[in-house]
């Protein structure tokens, strides 16, 4: 097990290095630079700005400086917010995205498992057809549509009840998180529902389920101990990438609900060619993704002992 984890960690480090290097050179290959702005500046000012950010040095040297700073965990100062460090931006805004993401994942996982199991039990009957219809909607409709409709729904609900049932946007209390988390989790929930349904149907046809029935176990016990536990495995597999997809892909939801998450900075940085923030957020998100995948692999081993053995 230890060797298994060590191997995965090493592969993870190489992946992160590759992400950082590829992003660094791709970013510098894009025409334009972060120092350009609406108002043209004098050569002197430009030279000083270049010197401050080290852009006056050759690209290879910039890369070496970047890598050595990265190893010390320092991503430098933002170009758009010249008095903020990229580390501070990540530290202040990632927790917001993470809380939102965790809540969304909880909603998505619970919902996905529940609906998936339900559709499998009622296979080809009305509840199954209804839910699967909604699932197709959930997968195919883009997130910003959910976000906009969810928000508009809140406006109407608040207007009908005359009191503020849930806030339309903003951040601060738990009530601010509910709608964005639901919206953010919908796509994943739909995906997990489908996955859970297929896997549940597979499990239901297995011999050991028939054996369980033959043993005279109660339906609930078979459902909880045998069907659900075995069917959940594929769901856990995709959960890892989904967690990072949700925590990193929430920028549309963050825009619409005015949430101070990191996703917004991630996207804006690319638009503004804010070199330091692009590097900081990409490497951070990359590392996060890698870590999640490794964690899920380890978790997998606990749920299914066979994985541990073969590893």
């Amino acid at each position: 097990m230890f060797r298994y984890i060590a191997k995965r960690l090493l592969a993870g480090v190489i992946t992160i290095w590759f992400i950082a290097t590829a992003t660094f050179f791709a970013m510098h290959a894009v025409p334009g630079d972060p120092l350009m702005n609406d108002r043209a500046v004098s050569d002197e000012v430009r030279r000083n700005l270049e010197a401050r950010y080290g852009l006056d040095k050759p690209l290879g040297e910039q890369y070496i400086i970047f890598i050595s700073n990265m190893l010390r965990g320092d991503f430098g100062i933002s170009f758009t917010q010249q008095n903020r460090r990229v580390n501070d931006i990540i530290r202040e805004h990632f927790p917001v995205s993470a809380i939102l993401g965790i809540l969304a994942i909880i909603i998505a996982a619970l919902g996905g498992i529940l609906w998936g199991a339900l559709t499998a039990l009622y296979r080809n009957r009305l509840p199954d057809i209804l839910i699967m219809l909604l699932v197709i909607l959930g997968i195919s409709v883009p997130g910003f549509v959910f976000a906009a409709t969810g928000q508009l729904a809140l406006v109407h609900v608040n207007a009908i009840f005359g009191v503020k049932v849930l806030p339309v946007a903003g951040w601060g209390t738990f009530s601010h998180m509910l709608m964005p988390a639901l919206v953010l989790g919908l796509g994943t929930m739909a995906l997990l529902t489908r996955l859970m349904r297929t896997s549940m149907i597979d499990v239901m046809g297995e011999d050991y389920i028939r054996t369980a029935h033959a043993k005279g176990l109660s339906k609930q016990r078979i459902f909880l101990r045998h069907q659900l536990r075995n069917a959940i495995l594929p769901v856990v597999t995709v959960l890892g990438p989904q967690i990072s997809a949700i925590t990193t892909g929430g920028f549309v939801v963050e825009y619409v609900f005015a949430i101070p998450g990191l996703g917004r900075y991630f996207v804006q940085a690319v638009q503004q060619l804010d070199y330091t923030v692009i590097m900081g957020t990409t490497v951070f998100y990359g590392a996060f993704l890698v870590l999640m995948v490794i964690l899920v692999d380890i978790l997998y081993g606990f749920i299914d002992p066979r994985v541990r053995v073969s590893a």
Partner: protein, 539 residues
């Protein structure tokens, strides 16, 4: 579940604690007349609240509420005393008397030294302020910014704590208007030295001398501005608090917040405009002061350096159609001149006194020019590259122009859509034939547009070069006589038309919603906009 079970379930304290979390504790309304509080949204987090470096609208908006310069604008757009209670002009020397009761938010007086420090620092090439050029009006400003002179040579001196003498580089008729600009705001030296690179990075990292002070700043989420008890004119400030509780550039989200009575102001775009109409809200409009135009590449060897080709396009284009059919939101004006309608002239408005020449659409004439252009350029005209931004509006406009020029002139236009920085890079290197560009005023004088196409102006990205035009700009720059200046600018306007230097498209308008109980909100083409500092709430 029996009734008793239900009751005991509901009786659990933990359950109620959970629900209390779900239900918002205090729901802040858009305006509150009792606490004199308003809530607004910002389109983005202010990137730079260090006034010496601020360049963008959001930062200047926030700074406008937190700071005060030597002078400020009142609600009718007139200059009124700010930190300076009076001033005296002799040739190039301005002597400002600062008021004794102007104070920083820590209670210390605002002194002449604070201005000296701030202006010197903004021009210091080491500060690398992008807006340093706006201080070039002050003697030696440009030389200092280029590193040719020490910052102590700047034409600003504190005679004592409350007397400030400024010497100008050349006669500048609009110098006082410049003094209202963000780069001219004072900063307190001790604070800047103490905070270093982190100056103005957080609410506690800078001092304010304006009507409000920044009490709280949660990055990316909210800014809370409360009335500054040290502000000298505090008795005329009605509002106790301005809360910028939402930061999002999504106009639909802001409209929803407005409908939910969460924010007191929001601007609209083409989509949200229709929803606002459907909700029967009162929609207001306002001219932002910016002018949008197609800028030609005048560099040698470019097709668009041919005058007849530019004239052909000039006569094939209809600005009214652009505004009414393509932009199709109220508030925009058809672009006729680079000089917008709101600029002051000698006595009235410049454009009334010196009407801009206008090319009425005339396809026959346009084709004549095109024929001449083809002759000069030697045959058919290869496709022209139209460089535009990546916004939906920019695409719509580009496609319209593409269609017009193809139908009317048979010109082939290739649209090159680029994100902001890449478009700038291509504009600067001259990698385009025509570029969708615009210009917003920095100060409310004609010169903010006047020198745009001067050969020395770095923002002249089409590299237009005409000694006659330059001469008129110099005349206007070096004179304080209004008539001389306006005559010179009228000549410049004529040249811009005759040479078809650019193709004016439209003067930008915004449409917006404002809470009906809120009064005294001022919209401005330059500086703080919208200005809530002296707003009131109706009972």
């Amino acid at each position: 579940m029996s009734i008793r079970n239900v009751i005991s379930f509901l009786g659990q304290q933990r359950l109620w604690a959970f629900f209390c979390l779900i239900i918002p504790i205090v729901s802040q309304a858009a305006v509150n007349g009792e606490t004199r509080t308003i809530t607004i949204s910002l389109t983005e987090e202010p990137p730079q609240l260090n006034s010496m470096k601020a360049t963008d609208q959001v930062s200047i908006f926030v700074l406008g509420h937190l700071m005060e310069g030597l002078v400020r604008y009142d609600r009718r757009g007139r200059l009124v005393p700010g930190v300076a209670k009076s001033w005296d002009v002799q040739d190039l020397d301005y002597t400002f008397q600062l008021r004794d009761d102007a104070r920083w938010s820590d209670g210390k007086p605002v002194t002449a030294h604070d201005f000296v420090f701030s202006w010197r620092n903004a021009l210091d090439p080491g500060t690398a302020s992008e807006y340093a050029f706006i201080l070039y009006a002050v003697k030696n400003g440009e030389a200092i910014n280029k590193g040719e002179r020490p910052i102590t040579d700047l034409g600003i001196h504190a005679l004592d704590d409350h007397t400030l003498v400024v010497t100008l580089e050349r006669p500048t008729a609009y110098f006082l208007k410049l003094c209202a600009f963000a780069s001219y705001l004072p900063v307190q030296e001790d604070m800047v030295r103490a905070k270093g690179d982190r100056y103005a990075a957080d609410a506690g990292d800078f001092l304010m001398n304006g009507p409000f002070k920044l009490e709280d700043w949660v990055h990316g989420a909210s800014l809370r501005m409360i009335k500054n008890e040290h502000y000298w004119d505090r008795d005329n400030i009605f509002l106790n608090e301005i809360n910028a509780d939402y930061i999002t550039s999504d106009t639909r989200a802001r409209l929803n917040l407005f409908l939910d009575d969460k924010i007191a102001y929001t601007s609209l775009d083409g989509d949200t405009y229709k929803d606002a109409l459907a909700n029967q809200l009162r929609i207001r409009s306002f001219i932002t002061g910016s002018v949008f135009f197609l800028e030609y590449n005048h560099r040698d060897g470019r097709l668009t350096s041919n005058l007849n080709l530019r004239r052909a396009i000039q006569y094939a284009y209809d600005a009214d159609e652009m505004v009414n059919k393509v932009l199709a939101t109220p508030g925009n004006l058809p672009g006729i001149s680079v000089f917008p309608v709101w600029l002051d002239g000698v006595e009235g408005k410049f454009r009334d006194e010196y009407p801009a020449p206008k090319a009425e659409r005339n396809i026959v004439r346009a084709r004549e020019y095109l024929a001449r252009a083809k002759e000069e350029l030697g045959g058919d005209i290869p496709p022209l590259i139209l460089l535009v931004g990546d916004s939906p509006t920019a695409s719509k406009q580009a496609e319209y122009i593409q269609g017009e020029l193809l139908n009317n002139l048979g010109l082939d236009i290739r649209i090159d859509k680029q994100i902001f920085k890449q478009r700038l890079a291509k504009m600067t290197s001259g990698d385009f034939d025509i570029v969708g560009a615009g210009w917003g005023p920095d100060f409310d004088d004609i010169m903010t547009f006047g020198d745009l196409f001067a050969s020395w102006n770095l923002n002249n990205r089409g590299r237009y070069n005409n000694p006659d035009y330059d001469q008129h700009v110099r005349t206007a720059m070096n004179s304080v006589d209004t008539l001389t200046r306006m005559e010179a600018m009228a000549n410049a306007q004529q040249i811009l038309f005759d040479d078809a230097v650019v193709l004016p498209q439209y003067e930008q308008g915004v449409i917006y919603l404002l809470h009906p109980k809120l009064r005294g909100v001022v919209r401005r083409v330059t500086g703080v906009d919208p200005d809530f500092t002296r707003a009131r709430i109706l009972p």
